[in-house]
Amino acid sequence: MAEPKQITLTIEGRQTTVAEGTSILEAAKTVGILIPHYCYHPGLPVAGVCRMCLVEVEKAPKLAAACATAATDGQVVHVHTERAREARKGVLEFLLINHPLDCPICDQAGECELQDYTYQEGRNSSRLRDPKRFNPLEDFGGDVMYVTNRCILCTRCVRFMDDVAHEPALNVSERGDRAVIGRFEGKDLTHPWAGNVIDLCPVGALLSKDSLNKVRAWEMDRSASVCPNCTQGCNSMIETRDNVVVRMRPRPNAEVNEYFMCDYGRLNYRWLNGPDRLDVPMARRGGELAPTDWELALATTAEALRGKRVFALVSPMLSNEALFLVRRLLDRTGGTGAFRVERGPAAPLPGVPDLSLRAERGANVIGAELLGFTKSDRPLDDLQQGDVLLVAGAALSADDAGAAARAADVVVIGWAPPGIEGTVASLPIANVAEEEGTFTNVRGRVQRFLQAKAAPGAARPSYFVLSDLLALLGDSANFFLASQVFEALGQARPEYAGLTYDSLGLKGAPIAGAERFAEPVEAGR
């Protein structure tokens, strides 16, 4: 395909060159100007209805909607002229006349674009002397609640369901100022991706029932993360309050999830706060596992492993860094490792190529396989009589009990109390929300996640614990940071060669040879 023609225009006195066909709104972003808007969203078709993005274009008689007007060569655009600002002020006034102004009890308060733009360029008082129209709120099904009176009819939700989810469920019902978002007969938002309409809604009209009245926007701390709930690796934002994860939302990444995240992923965060955590190191004393300090627990573990063949049962929820260190340990002691991955129904999002809730519900299945761990529904089959069983992040199922009995000793590095017969030591580690690391997703893309909250009790980052353990077993590497482990991984494994935390950034990068993980082309397509 031919390269699109480049055109140059001036926006607020700043020149920018963009591809032909780019809207004025997107062109303005390239020079650091955010033209106020509501209905426009880069992940949805242009509607051009909110009229908030009106700007002045030289030589054009009327104000132009920046989202729906293509940038042209030599165009001169003014965003902050008197005329354009008056027009947008007018839009804001119109948007607010029937709005309940109930910000004190609105979940969106603090992250509401109606608040933001009104603060930025709205009127300081209302001229409305007449009653507002009123509509009752409505349960839209799924996780979505519709607070009708706050709605500004931007139709982002309608367009998401129509053009991205390909499951038309919403519409604009009625006309004039009686108009509301309606549901088609027999339809609701139980679609596996419908929760995105909550993020897309620029105001407090579509709210998550899950986080309703739970937290104020300004009380939350936000950390870039990667959704661990399937192999897709949607970029996410973990939001916490007082060290508790209260919400997960998508973080845009055109290569992975665009602007979206499935409901399964976003709502499956409570385990990150789980109360039944292993939060103190334990070691066997006199036949009983008892809480102890890290030094003793690590020494006990090293003692159990030293000179033995080790079989590692790992988890696809462990980071590349942790898995790499387990691998390094196995290389030292001799032995193999395997993992089991939970499965569930897959749910693709038709409007975005190659975006799906994947059947395999583990973040790092590919990472584990690349490091030589075997994916198996009976992962302990290769556990040999007399091996030491190292359980890292995994849980044993009832079926595993018989096989586990073959182990000489069991050591546990994990999140949950072991409850395994013969455990000599258990070392508490941080989960994905509590440490730094990387996952390799279904398409071979390595992506970083950051620490979002503190680990409970005495739990330490997984790479930290494993690094200490390796040191006790005579490994000379001394890793203090996840990034150091990742660099060592790059040196040891060709797939990761040349990658660093800096080069990954917060959007990730494909591993060498990631093409082999590309979406299989269906026959006849």
Partner: protein, 437 residues
């Protein structure tokens, strides 16, 4: 006007010649009156020649905008490999307008003939006639006429034996004013909600089903056969004023006037004579106060302004308003202008498609203010607010419904401010119960 009264001698009945003549409704009757000769002639002509004749005739869109018809047709490029469509806009939803209704009631074949000629000229094999759903009688008559035209081989795969396909469908509107807007109409035909689309792309590039489309009003298309048979010069000659306004125009006259109805006069006819001589002036004992000459969307004229106006596109603009659809709404001295204006804005508030913020919220808010003024709760600040809201509602939205709602408010407050002030100060109490929107 031909129906129910005989045409006045000063009228120029071209389109309305057969109004009231039931025999003109059948194919045979229409042929007897010279019908379908123009189509036969047109089908034997090159498309470019047809477009040129219409261009030369000076025919302009009769739906309200007054865009030169031949120029519009020339945007369509026959042979570009895409299916082309003609849409006949028979939605006639503009308040005060009922001229297209009469064309369809009495001379359905005139419209079918005009549509068929236009279809060939723009290279369209399919034409949709979008008829307002409330027009039950015209719908029935048009349906019968269409069936007849097919039976006679006038339409179909081999229209009049020309070897050309011209198919025609009647699409029944479902009661939305906005579906008279051309892009909303295209959405409606496609089975979508009747919301206007952003332009560009213009219909000639991507119209109905994303294909090149031309949309013409009923009256425009009905005039085409006459232009083909009698020539561009003849049509151009029908003008008393500006050479840019040619031919005849049908006006629907309603309100406080002695003889309401449809009147057809040549362009440039003096409005004063039209109102007093043709339409019989105000009802006995009353005086004209205000005229809305082109359907609800155009600025209100005072009677003094109207009396000095010549009836053509330029003349109405010179008179501070627009020709619009030709729906003349006459208001006499017994009426409250505030009430009339509130009634108009209530209509627009009801019909706003709800896409654009200014229109969705503005039409309703303006109506609420006006109805409060009517109920005796107005303030002087309200008038300033109304003018400012109207300003914000003008030129800022996808279509012009919002502008149309602002128009009577602005012209009304400018020209009849004393009536608003009388209500606000309580010098005059409202006789009107406010109805909810």
């Amino acid at each position: 006007m031909g129906y129910p009264y005989k045409s006045n001698a000063r009228e120029a009945p071209v389109l309305s010649r057969h109004f009231g003549d039931t025999e003109a409704r059948s194919v045979a009757g229409w042929r007897h009156r010279g019908g379908y000769r123009a189509l036969e002639q047109a089908l034997g002509m090159p498309q470019a020649d047809l477009v040129n004749i219409v261009k030369e005739s000076g025919l302009r869109g009769r739906g309200g905008a007054g865009f030169p018809t031949g120029l519009k047709w020339s945007f369509m490029k026959p042979g570009d490999g895409k299916p082309h469509y003609l849409i006949c806009n028979a939605d006639e939803s503009e308040p005060g307008t009922f001229k297209d209704r009469e064309i369809m009631r009495w001379t359905p074949h005139a419209l079918i003939e005009g549509c068929a000629i236009a279809s060939w000229a723009i290279g369209a094999e399919v034409c949709y006639i979008y008829i307002r759903g409330e027009f039950t009688e015209p719908l029935r008559i048009m349906g019968d006429a269409l069936r007849e035209a097919y039976a006679e081989g006038i339409l179909g795969r081999n229209a009049m034996g020309s070897g050309r396909r011209i198919d025609m469908w009647i699409h029944k509107g479902a009661g939305a004013y906005i579906c008279g807007e051309e892009t909303a109409m295209m959405n409606s035909i496609e089975g979508r909600r009747g919301n206007p689309r952003i332009k560009p792309p213009f219909p000639a590039v991507a119209g109905v089903f994303g294909q090149p489309t031309t949309i013409n009003n009923v009256e425009t298309l009905a005039a085409v056969p006459h232009i083909i048979t009698q020539g561009a010069e003849w049509y151009k000659g029908m003008s008393l004023s500006n050479p840019k306004s040619t031919g005849t125009k049908l006006y629907s006259v309603c309100g406080n006037i002695a003889r309401p109805g449809n009147y057809e006069v040549v362009m440039g006819f003096p409005f004063k004579e039209f109102l007093y001589d043709l339409c019989g002036g105000p009802p006995q004992g009353r005086k004209f106060k205000a005229i809305i000459p082109g359907g609800a969307s155009v600025p209100i004229q005072t009677v003094e302004e109207a009396e000095g106006t010549l009836m053509d596109y330029e003349g109405f603009i010179a008179g501070g308003t627009m020709l619009g659809s030709g729906g003349v709404i006459v208001i006499d001295d017994q009426q409250s202008m505030v009430k009339q204006i509130a009634r108009l804005t209530r209509f627009f508030a009801h019909e706003s498609c709800a896409q654009c913020t200014q229109c969705r919220e503005g039409t309703g808010w303006v109506t609420r203010i006006l109805e409060r003024i009517l109920a005796g709760g107005g303030t002087f600040e309200d008038l300033d607010t109304l003018l400012e809201l109207s300003h914000n509602m003008t030129g800022t939205t996808i279509c012009v419904l919002s502008d149309s709602c602002a128009t009577p408010v602005v012209s009304g407050i400018r020209k009849f401010r004393h009536e608003f002030e009388a209500l606000i100060t309580g010098r005059r109490s409202s006789t009107v119960a406010t109805a909810s929107v």
